[in-house]
């Protein structure tokens, strides 16, 4: 039933193109083969160009996410961390939206994964996104962690300093007790 419906929809989509196909000039078999070879050569050149275009598109999105994330952290500090993460992962989703079309179906044979290739590619692209994210905000996170540690060290130093007078007091008492004990012992020895 669903397949029939899909076929009908596809047929309607084909009809909406609305172009009549007319035959080209007649050629001999050899000419047709030569034309096909030439066409393949042209197509290869075009595909190469489109590959570069795809690379530039990926670079543009990658640079955008990196620069925006870094800008947010520079300008907003800690507040910019979560928007940075959202921007990087969001852009990653937008760029690789076609890779999200994998399907996991349950059948009598168990769970089946369709378009696993897309899933793997999506995994790689997400890892790349995380790499960009770490490049953008990793330094800040590290600095923030060190700052907290430094604050603790300062606090520790102050606490240590404040403990000094107590130590002197204890030392005086102990010294006094020892001296008093010595005096008492000496007096009892004479008596």
């Amino acid at each position: 039933m669903i397949e029939d419906l899909e076929q009908e929809l596809n047929a309607e989509a084909e009809q909406t193109h609305g172009y009549n196909i007319e035959p080209d000039t007649s050629f001999t078999h050899d000419e047709v083969e030569a034309i096909a070879r030439y066409k393949e050569k042209l197509a290869a050149s075009l595909n190469k160009n489109h590959g570069v275009l795809k690379g530039l598109e990926t670079s543009a999105w990658g640079l955008s996410s990196y620069c925006l994330a870094k800008f947010l952290v520079y300008s907003s500090g800690t507040i910019g961390i979560f928007p940075s993460i959202a921007i990087v992962l969001g852009i990653n989703q937008i760029v690789n939206r076609d890779l999200l079309e994998f399907r996991i179906n349950k059948s009598t044979e168990g769970w089946q994964l369709e378009d696993m290739q897309k899933l793997v590619r999506f995994g790689f692209s997400t890892a790349f996104g995380c790499f960009i994210l770490w490049g953008a905000i990793g330094d800040f996170l590290h600095t923030m962690n060190n700052s907290n540690q430094t604050y603790d060290d300062i606090k520790q130093a102050i606490v240590q300093y404040q403990r000094l007078s107590e130590d002197d007091k204890n030392m005086t008492i102990i010294t006094g007790v020892i001296v008093a004990g010595g005096i008492v012992y000496a007096l009892r020895g004479k008596g």
Binding site: D24, T25, F27, T28, D30, E31, A34, I35, Y38, K39, L42, S45, L46, N49, H50, V52, L53, L56, E57, S59, A60, L63, S64, Y66, C67, L68, K70, F71, Y74, S75, G77, T78, F140, T143, M144, N146, S147, N148, T150, Y151, D153, I154, K155, A157, I158, Y161, S165
Partner: protein, 481 residues
């Protein structure tokens, strides 16, 4: 050139984008730091025995604590001071701000724009490449088609050349073999000549057949053109006829009929209704063509006789002149531009038509011009003779009204059809006209072949031609509705 410019621009732009992001956008000191140093003051300010001096104590404290300069994010420092449950006291702390060395935000914001500009530039280059690729493919198709065609033609030429060489050698071998047979007495020279003659005859016959086929094709083309013209005129005629009010047309027809009947005992009306062929005879400029056209117009409009054809070797010249009112009457033009073969065919067809038609068929009329000149043409001389002979006897029963124009009613004009002069005089109406100076027609004529009230055949009766019996006048006065 444009594509190279786009490529270079795209490369430079993406390089600039990466430079902005990873070189100019970087900063060694990008954050706001706080520099904190803990320098407590000694409390040994009183000089006491067994206690160290204050300076010494302070030196020891500084040595222990104040030599460390802590650096941490200002944001973390302020947050911890506010949020810690036991924040440290700032007493004894030396705090200073360390600001970022430079602001690189502009580079970080510029990098995405440059990257997308690079993408758009390359995209423009891809579109140009795509268009050029299609053009290249089509040009390649044209080139390969042209080169293939040239190569095939060359191959065919060479193959034909080889075939010619082979045929030449074959005929040479045959000729030598025949000579050998003749020499050795197996074949006589006469027999050989007979064979050659037969082959030559066959070739000649084939040539004649081919010529005939071409003529048939031309004739069919002419016929089709004539039929198309006739159909067009028929359509135009129907259109104009529908536009005319019937009552007005009938009144004018009655007026003209009455006028024809009243002119000089009604000889004009008599020739209109007569089934005899009318021969209009006279020199150049005597008005015979205009009188013929007037008779045709009157017969067409008053007696409902359709004009089937006009046969005139100079029809292409007379169309805008003498026949200008006849051409719209749905007739076929035969033999224009001196096509005497077509005239011969037209005459043959007319003879055949007279044989096929009967008195019950709808009446038609036909006009034949320049019979004197036609009779002298080798292509149609015989047909003229046959045509004239049959016109004297066959047209009445075929219900066809024939008008012929000639310079003289002589044997020459009638295709040298000797032996029936008496029949010719009796069975035709002859109107002989003259001109004053070769251009101006005289207003009278000699009429022969019409019967008077006593049943006697008139011969060279002098009659006047009224000025209204001219095509332009008739159309203006009677047929313009």
């Amino acid at each position: 050139m444009r594509r190279n410019l786009l490529s270079i621009s795209a490369g430079l732009t993406i390089f600039a984008a990466f430079s902005c992001a990873y070189y100019y956008g970087q900063n060694k000191q990008p954050y706001h730091y706080k520099s904190v140093r803990f320098c407590p003051k000694t409390k040994n300010i009183e000089k006491r025995e067994y206690f160290k001096s204050a300076e010494k104590s302070q030196q020891e404290l500084d040595k222990k604590y104040c030599r460390y300069n802590y650096k941490l994010l200002a944001e973390v420092w302020e947050e911890r001071l506010l949020s810690d449950s036991m924040p440290i006291s700032t007493t004894g702390l030396e705090i200073a701000d360390i600001y970022p060395t430079s602001n690189t935000s502009i580079y970080l914001l510029m990098a995405p724009f440059l990257a997308f500009a690079s993408y758009l530039l390359w995209d423009a280059k891809c579109k140009l490449d795509s268009d050029e690729s299609y053009q290249k493919l089509e040009e390649y198709k044209v080139k390969i088609k042209r080169e293939g065609m040239v190569a095939r033609i060359d191959r065919n030429l060479k193959a034909e050349e080889m075939q010619h060489i082979q045929n030449y050698h074959q005929s040479d071998i045959s000729r030598r073999a025949d000579s050998k047979l003749i020499q050795e007495g197996f074949l006589s020279l006469k027999e050989m000549q007979l064979r050659s003659q037969r082959a030559s005859n066959i070739e000649e016959q084939q040539f004649q057949n081919d010529s005939l086929q071409y003529k048939i094709a031309d004739s069919l083309g002419d016929k089709q053109i004539a039929e198309n013209l006739r159909d067009a005129r028929e359509a135009n005629g129907k259109f104009t006829q529908n536009a005319v009010e019937p009552s007005e047309k009938a009144n004018k027809s009655e007026q003209l009929t009455e006028q024809l009947k009243q002119h000089e005992d009604g000889w004009l009306w008599d020739i209109m209704t007569s089934t005899k062929p009318i021969w209009l005879i006279g020199g150049q400029g005597s008005g015979k063509s205009s009188l013929a056209a007037a008779i045709v117009l009157c017969r067409y409009h008053l007696l409902n006789q359709k004009l089937a054809l006009i046969c005139d070797a100079h029809g292409h010249k007379n169309r805008p002149k003498a026949w200008k009112h006849l051409v719209p009457l749905e007739c076929a033009m035969v033999g224009e531009r001196n096509n005497y073969e077509a005239i011969a065919e037209g005459m043959d067809e007319a003879v055949q038509r007279w044989s096929d038609r009967t008195e019950d068929d709808a009446p038609i009329q036909s006009l034949w011009d320049e019979l004197t000149q036609l009779s002298m043409q080798p292509e149609c001389g015989n047909e003229v003779k046959k045509f004239v002979r049959h016109s004297l006897t066959d047209v009445r029963k075929a219900n066809e009204f024939v008008i012929c124009i000639a310079h003289a009613f002589t044997n020459a004009a009638t295709g040298n059809a000797e032996g029936f002069k008496e029949l010719r005089d009796q069975e035709t109406i002859q109107i002989k006209r003259k001109s004053k100076n070769g251009r101006q027609p005289l207003p009278y004529a000699e009429l022969s072949g019409v019967y008077d009230d006593n049943g006697d055949l008139l011969h060279q009766q002098s009659v006047t031609i009224p000025e209204w019996i001219y095509p332009d006048k008739l159309v203006e006065l009677y047929f313009n509705t």
